[in-house]
Amino acid sequence: MNEAQTSVLMVHKIGLHARPSVKLTKLAKGFTSKVELAVAAEGPWIDAKSIVKVMAAKAPQDTVLHFRASGDDAENAVRALADLVTRDFDEDREDASHG
């Protein structure tokens, strides 16, 4: 079983809100590994495939997001999620704050 972990700073204007959360959980669900997310290095770790849990984390802007995964595609999963956050959830529209 592979394990992978990474952290990335989220610069999204209003944090891990509805639209970013939808994108993040959809992406996570595309991997077979167990994928988790935390807003602090020491956890608690939450299921990155559950939008209910991800939204409940209410992560604001400038939060460092931690990802970890275990499973066959763990490394790809962690890299893809970190990329999504680095790309600011592909929201280059000026209204990015509205999601």
């Binding site: 209003i14 944090g15 809100h17 639209r19 959809k26 939204m55 529209r93 000026e94 704050s97 509205h98």
Partner: protein, 533 residues
């Protein structure tokens, strides 16, 4: 068949309709007769699936921005975590509807407790998806209200009104005097008859109803006599419609040949598809609130620009007056308007809210400045109370204009004018001479002059009673505007009231903006006015 019952309420939108009676919201919430835990689990699963299917279809029919909001609700519903606590409750013998409601309410409470207003605003989404699933669980079925029926309830929300297909006719009967005026406005612009403040409305056992929106009469289980009267009314309405259509097709002129501009009030760009631009002299009031359903999903500059440009292109050079966001009062927007104000109508609404949320205001102004080169745009500030507000709004507009120009983006400065709906400028228009035009919002002006809420049935008569006072204020404004070369028009309901047209024109008004549904009728009313005594 039950006996015929005659009810009387307050007219809110004219027109007649006869059709099946449908209860909008049962006063007693329907509860399920709970089955075995297995049955209840299955019922919840099915109801969630039905809700997802409905939302998926709805998402296909709306713009991208709204689709994102719906997409969020779908994602939440698809997440087993959401229904997990409900499942546990069901295993303990709780019926599915109660288990579901409790589970989602915990989530709602969690969002409401957030310090972050964006997360707080999500509570509304949770409530929305909760209710959608509840409707399936309790057998109330689709959230969409049926068209072609007389809807009876305490209240109908504007979004539910918009979701309803009114092409097959329909009518609305409301028991309360709750915040319904927004829906009444929509009903008038779509020509849907509506009666409010109908008390003692016991509809159990009745299957059919007849509504006469002009008189406020509602007949349950109409007998042969009532149906005959209805047919006569329908025929009259048909004939009036024909006459209206003839008048709508030509420019409005009084009996003695004085031209009068008759423009339309619109609440959403989609309404325009059904209107022939040649029948009006432009858009006298575009209410931009309909772009702003939700504070957490505010429309961006590009989306607003696209909508505004579409309005201007539709108008083919005729003037288009767009009012900047007029939220607050009876038009709250979760996450944007101020919560918990003691008196919303006297609080942070209209331009006051725009100053409080300058980020939102600036985005709208940029979109307007960019749209301006595409037609004859006029921008109107709502709720102007003090002359300084005119200067402040114009200064912000000019800043955004300068920044667009600096960035090399095509833009222009439209005429900047104001609504006259607060008594202050109506009493002393000379203090507000920085405005490039005045447009009288007679609805708010009336309720502020009468100190009587327009949605409170108990004091409605007072608001109707101050009409001579309003007419005097209108006359004063027109006189001042004429002397100073400031255009004065009226876009409130008074303009769309046939019985007021004579007075308004005699007061000197030559520009009326009305609901599209009464365009022809008002032009016909104009044609019957003789200005020269």
């Amino acid at each position: 068949m039950p006996h015929t019952v005659e009810l009387r309420g307050h007219p809110a939108s004219p027109g007649v309709f006869c059709g099946p009676l449908v209860t909008v919201d049962a006063e007693q919430p329907v509860t399920r007769a709970g089955g075995s835990p297995d049955d209840e689990r299955a019922a919840l699963k099915t109801s969630i699936a039905q809700a997802i299917e409905e939302l998926t279809r709805l998402a296909e029919q709306v713009d991208e921005e709204s689709a994102d909001i719906i997409g969020f609700q779908i994602a939440m519903l698809e997440d087993p975590e959401l229904s997990q606590p409900a499942g546990d409750e069901i295993d303990c013998g709780t019926p599915a509807d109660i288990a579901w409601k409790t589970a989602v309410e915990v989530q709602v409470a969690d969002y409401e407790a957030s310090d972050d207003e964006y997360f707080r605003a999500r509570a509304a989404d949770l409530r929305d998806l909760r209710d959608r699933v509840m409707r399936h669980l309790t057998g109330l079925g689709k959230s969409r209200l049926p068209g072609g029926a007389v809807l009876v309830g305490d209240d109908v929300t504007p979004t539910r009104f918009l979701e309803t297909d009114w092409s097959g006719g329909g009518g609305i009967v409301l028991t309360g005097g709750s915040a319904t005026s927004h829906v009444a406005m929509l009903a008038r612009s779509r020509g849907v008859p509506m009666v409010i403040g109908v008390s003692g409305c016991k509809i159990a056992g009745h299957r059919e109803a007849l509504i006469d929106g002009a008189s406020g009469e509602v007949t349950l289980s109409p007998d042969a006599d009532a149906l005959l009267r209805f047919e006569a009314l329908s025929r009259q309405a048909e004939e009036a419609k024909k006459t209206d259509a003839e008048f709508a097709a030509k420019p409005a002129r009084t009996a003695d040949g004085e031209p009068v501009a008759v423009m339309i009030n619109v609440a959403s760009a989609d309404e325009l598809d059904a209107i022939d631009v040649a029948t009006c002299d432009g858009i006298g009031l575009m209410r931009s609130e309909f772009l702003f359903h939700d504070g957490a999903a505010l429309p961006g500059e590009d989306i607003q620009f696209t909508v505004y440009r579409r309005l201007l292109e539709w108008a083919e050079g005729r003037p288009v007056t767009i009012r900047t966001l007029d939220a607050g009062g009876d038009k709250p927007i979760a996450g944007l308007t101020v919560d918990g104000e003691a008196n919303t109508f006297l609080g942070v609404r209209g331009i006051r809210l725009s100053f409080a949320r300058e980020d939102v205001f600036r985005t709208q102004l940029r979109a307007l400045a960019r749209a301006a080169p595409h037609g004859t745009l006029k921008v109107m500030w709502p709720m102007i109370t003090h002359p300084d507000e005119l200067d402040r709004a114009a200064a912000i507009f000019d800043e955004e204009l300068a920044s667009l120009k600096a960035a090399g983006i095509e833009c222009a400065r439209p005429q900047l004018g104001m609504m006259v709906e607060v008594p202050a400028p109506a009493i002393a228009p000379d203090l507000f001479d920085a405005a490039e035009f005045f447009s009288i919002g007679s609805n708010d002006l009336t309720q502020y002059v009468a100190a009587a809420a327009r949605d409170n049935v108990a004091v409605m008569a007072l608001a109707e009673g101050v009409r001579p006072v309003i007419e005097r204020l209108v006359a004063g404004l027109v006189k001042y505007g004429h002397a100073r070369g400031i255009e004065v028009s009226i876009c409130g309901d008074l303009a769309g009231d046939e019985s007021a047209v004579n007075q308004l024109l005699k007061a000197g008004l030559r520009s009326l903006s009305v609901a599209p549904a009464v365009l022809g009728r008002i032009k016909a009313a104009v044609a019957s006015v003789r200005l020269e005594a």
